[in-house]
């Protein structure tokens, strides 16, 4: 969000929102309030819905016998899952699945928990395998262009609206 070219997209977008708000409301204070509100909503909306994670279909990794350092069930935490992925990867989701690919509910994931060091073996015996969906590190620029492009598109639409209105 603050590296690469996405910030340029955000700056441009904020500028266009301000111009459009000014054109519609024609009053300085109201336009400023509207600009702040719209920018805040869009910005938090993008973070809140994790929109960034959906810029591309994630890569899936499946492990029948994941190797875990430390406590085996740490693999169920985001940090533990991250440790299974290549460096710089962006984790989307992780968990356990049955052989036919259906996901396993949370209570089954923890059912093996009391036997700490046999945890992974216990999960294997149930016919489950661990999986994670992630974006590899080399997608950084692609995602940067996606975000900047989406914001540039909105900017163009807003500007077109303002120009049309001014005629």
């Amino acid at each position: 969000m603050v590296t690469g070219i996405a910030p340029a997209g955000w700056w441009l977008f904020a500028f266009a929102v301000g111009v459009a708000a000014g054109a519609v409301t024609r009053r300085l204070l109201v336009a400023m309030a509207v600009t702040l509100a719209v920018f805040f909503l869009v910005y938090t909306g993008v973070s809140l819905t994790s929109a960034r994670l959906h810029y591309a279909a994630p890569v899936r990794v499946e492990e029948n016998a994941p190797e875990v350092r430390g406590e085996p069930w740490a693999i169920n935490t985001p940090g533990g899952a991250q440790a299974q992925l290549p460096a710089g990867a962006l984790l989307v989701t992780s968990g356990w699945a049955r052989a036919d690919g259906t996901a396993v509910p949370r209570d089954v994931v923890w059912a093996c928990a009391p036997t700490a060091y046999e945890y992974l073996q216990c999960m294997r015996d149930k016919g489950l395998h661990w999986f994670a969906d992630y974006h590899p590190a080399d997608r950084y620029w692609r995602f940067q262009y996606t975000e900047a492009g989406a914001l540039a598109l909105v900017t163009v639409l807003l500007s077109a609206f303002v120009v049309r209105r001014a005629r």
Binding site: L28, L29, V30, M32, A33, L36, T44
Partner: protein, 291 residues
């Protein structure tokens, strides 16, 4: 005067009241939903809203921008002050009336926000991060300090507006000065009183930790950011166990939890004083200057 103030500023008042009411409902629903949750889930629920609550220190800036800065700058920029100040109400009364009334409303609104956040915090008793004293954002967003922050932002905006007499420069200057004062307050807060010192003590619930050090067996204190001489050659991973083996004890400097209200009043007092110092000269100057 009351009617004129309401008539000219009702948009700000209604929007602020609406936003406060919406935030109040959000805090109420979120707080009530936390009732009876076990530790880990309670923590997660707190964090889910705290991400946004941690922006509380910036909220007064909006008051400075939308309540304070336009108050004088808009009249002076558009020339409408010529009409306002040639009525039967004297210029000084017009200024003090508006600043006084709006300042009062702003302070009450800030205190209402603080009361709502405080009430919300009581739902998260066992959560470490829900700390109204140690947490920078929560300290400035609860108690009486929040009302003083709102008043200060309003006074700052009004003073800057009266000084530069144009809206956009007034906005920019308000933002800059507010951010500077806010950052300075984060630094100054822990020095409102001489901190207490404790050696090898357990956790200090609700306290504001201001510094740490290591105490050698012979009684020499090494500051927290300095390297203990016995362990100068220890690696990053063995350092902590090394100072423990060398017999060092940890020292903490802190402000105890019961100083919360004292610190709240100190901060509020400083901000109110600052507000008066900002607005006073501007009122004097604007009142004296020829129309």
């Amino acid at each position: 005067m009351v009617w004129l103030t309401w008539r000219q500023h009702r948009a700000q008042m209604l929007v602020t009241a609406g936003l406060l009411a919406a935030l109040g409902v959000l805090l109420l629903v979120h707080g009530l939903g936390a009732d009876g949750l076990p530790g880990e889930a309670l923590n997660a629920r707190f964090q889910s809203l705290y991400t946004y609550i941690s922006w509380l220190p910036v909220v007064p800036l909006l008051v400075g921008l939308f309540w304070g800065a336009p108050l004088l700058a808009r009249e002076l920029e558009r020339g409408t002050h010529r009409l306002a100040w040639t009525q039967s109400v004297t210029r000084r009364r017009w200024l003090t009336g508006k600043l006084g009334l709006l300042g009062l409303v702003v302070t009450v609104a800030g205190l209402a926000l603080g009361a709502m956040v405080s009430a919300w915090l009581t739902s998260f008793d066992g959560v470490d991060a829900a700390d109204r004293f140690g947490d920078t954002a929560l300290f400035g967003g609860t108690g009486v300090a929040v009302g003083a922050w709102w008043l200060f932002a309003f006074a700052l905006g009004a003073a800057v507006g009266g000084l530069v007499r144009k809206m956009l420069p007034a906005f920019a200057m308000t933002i800059v000065v507010f951010v500077l004062v806010m950052v300075a307050s984060f630094q100054a807060r822990q020095d409102y009183a001489e901190p207490l010192r404790t050696v090898a003590d357990g956790p200090l619930p609700g306290a504001l930790i201001t510094g740490s050090a290591s105490l050698s067996p012979s009684g020499v204190e090494v500051a927290g950011d300095a390297v203990v001489p016995e362990c100068a050659t220890a690696g990053r991973e063995t350092y902590l166990s090394c100072i423990e083996e060398a017999g060092y004890e940890s020292v903490l400097y802190y402000q105890p939890a019961d100083r919360y209200w004292r610190f709240q009043w100190t901060e509020a007092g400083l901000l109110v004083l600052l507000s008066v110092l900002l607005v006073g000269p501007v009122v004097y100057r604007v009142a004296r200057r020829p129309v």
